[in-house]
Symmetry: C2
Subunit: 120 residues, 2 copies
DNA sequence: AAGCTAATAATAATAATTATCATTAAATAT
DNA sequence: ATATTTAATGATAATTATTATTATTAGCTT
């Protein structure tokens, strides 16, 4: 299972299911979901709750910004880091009793492919 | 319809449906979705594609960060602005043929209520 | 090998959203 | 004012991604 942690991209559960099937043909989708959930809880992968309706999983477990294509739905990493201090650093009054767990920065638009190939 | 643009919070389509029903009892959920979509396309409201599985709508149309409670699912505004220059400003090489349309910053964790009320 | 435990496959259930389509209402022309 | 065209609506069905259920299988432990 961990074998598929070597993804550069951000596969959906369904994509992972298809790939694992290649060498575990009898595996069920439920098992894939269950184990992805376990792995994301244990911290070995990241569950991305991005915009769009699909959950995706990311072997890169440190917080980094993404670009989501509104046309094809692909998620790409962006080459810069983020941390909370970028916006809230100097003044953290806003926390006000909340427990902050994570930060997600997401750009949306058209990926290079979709931007080049079609204009609508 | 526009009457419900006066929300301070970030209602889901279902919440809006319930509220519109109070004075248009015969309206259907499909109509609500359809018109929310039209309004978000015309730019009079914002469709928030946040993490979590629910789409929410926001009368505040300028880009601002949100806090999503992983327990109760509520979305709150955070009191600071964001703009692209915060991370990518100095070096925009990353754009590389993409067409950037919007930026969404989302913190997740426990909201003040959920953080106070339960510890799991 | 018998008995206990935990993981799995197959399937059903759920939840949010989108699509369909006959019906109603609105707009325009006659 | 009424017939005709056009568009919006309500009711319902379909879709999609995910989660829950449950009987079965497989892995250990003695």
């Amino acid at each position: 299972m961990q074998v598929l942690g070597e993804h550069i991209d951000h596969p959906s559960a369904d994509t992972i299911y298809e790939e694992v099937r290649k060498f575990l043909p009898r595996i069920s989708l439920g098992t894939v979901y269950r184990n992805l959930e376990i792995m994301s809880e244990s911290g070995s992968i990241l569950k991305l709750e991005t915009g769009g309706s699909i959950k995706r999983f990311d072997p890169n477990t440190h917080s980094h910004p993404h670009f989501r294509c509104v046309k094809c739905g692909s998620i790409e990493d962006l080459p810069f880091g983020i941390d909370s201090s970028m916006f809230a650093g100097t003044d953290e009054d806003w926390i006000k009793g909340r427990k902050v767990q994570s930060l997600h920065v997401e750009y949306t638009g058209l990926c290079a492919d979709c931007n080049g190939n079609t204009k609508s």
